[in-house]
């Protein structure tokens, strides 16, 4: 009989392996993926999340992705982990980002820096900008 505790022990080990192999960034994960639905990037976010980057900023970040494969995702950012759920959260987020799916995918694959997307007006931010900067570190931005 296989212990149910085994997969739980395995997940952190796998996670650490992925973080090491990608240097804590999402872009290398999807280097050879021809089409990347936004949903897949949100699945990967907790894996590449670097809690130490950007300091102890924490809170609720809502991301509205418009266009193909778009939708709303809510990120619960804690000092030690990141939890992602589909759809808007129960309360008003601390930060809301609005971005089209092409820009979002370009950010996730490292083709555009999140700061550049923001400064070029392709990514809108409401609220505490520190949370969006913390998120940028998950991509290729930092």
């Amino acid at each position: 009989m296989v212990s149910t505790a085994a997969p739980q022990r395995l997940i952190p080990r796998l996670r650490n392996k992925v973080i090491r192999s990608t240097q804590g960034r999402m872009a290398p994960l999807f280097k050879r993926v021809p089409y990347l639905p936004p949903a897949m990037t949100f699945d990967a976010l907790p894996v590449v999340y670097k809690p130490e980057y950007g300091g102890p900023a924490q809170g609720i970040l809502e991301i509205q992705v418009t266009g193909a494969g778009g939708g709303t995702w809510t990120l619960d950012i804690k000092p030690d982990r990141l939890k992602v759920t589909r759809g808007p959260g129960d309360r008003l987020p601390d930060t809301r980002m609005r971005v089209d799916s092409r820009t979002w995918t370009a950010m996730a694959t490292g083709r555009i820096d999140g700061t550049e997307a923001f400064i070029r007006g392709r990514l809108e931010v409401e609220g505490d900008i520190r949370l969006s900067i913390k998120l940028d570190s998950c991509f290729g931005g930092h």
Binding site: E52, G54, A57, T95, I119, R120, G127
Partner: protein, 318 residues
Amino acid sequence: MTAIDTIDTAAIERLGDYAPDDVIAAVDGVLSQGAGAVSYVELYHRWERQQWRTEDLDFAPDARDWQERLLDPQRRQLMWFMALFFHGEERVAMELTPFIDAAPTPDQQIFLTTQVVDEARHARFFDKFYREALGFTEPTIGDRLAAVKDQLSGGFTELFGPVLTGVTNRMRRGDHSLETFVRGIVTYHLTIEGVVALSGQRHVLQFFREQGMMPGFRNGFTAVARDESRHVNFGMKFLKEAVAEEPRMIAVIHDQLAIAIPAANRIFDPPPGENGPGEMLGFTMGDLHAYGFETLQKRLHSIDVPPPFHWKREVAAA
């Protein structure tokens, strides 16, 4: 008379007593009066009134504070922070001369000449601080710069390398067009001095002030911030006039910001193996970046240029 008024002519040995936010408020105060409120000649006269000497700074108390009052991780984090400023001052002193040839009017050229002198003084200030407070014993300034080069971030190398020299090399090759000069001012006076340097200075000075330590450094670094405020005033005045003269320069400003700001945003990234400043210095990378964008918004507002980005401080109910 408020603190903001007296900063203008305060002597070097008193400057460290001022709150960093007052020094920055003095810049914003000038900017809020509009570009016409202060002339290039007045900015030059301000430079004459605000002279200071690195020789007058006493770093003996700083050397004691550095050894006895700071913790190891604080010293380590401050070391890479200081290296950015030490190298930054030396690099801008070298890259400023093409601006003098490219500036459209003699009044602007004369002001920019004073700025070259300022940047050289700032590099000497950091050199003296490294020798007398931090105990560096390398024989020359070049050796001391080389000794801390490995502390520089990728963002620094990119911003002071291809981003800044990309523009200054065009000027060196004889491109004295308005567009190239605007791109230079956006990179140097707005991004490097007006956003990155003032944000970093504000947070480091605030930390030392709250801890009541490093008095020599505080005096000198506040003088540096006051000089840079004058440079920022020059740059913002020029950009405002350029936009009024040729509205297409708004698009040029936006484009150059899109080139410079991503590199600037990575400038305070720590060296490999180090975390960000964290709570060891009382501020975080996120604080620095948020403060930087707020500052950028203010600067753009002061020159009547809409920000290219969309950022509202409050989250609206969906």
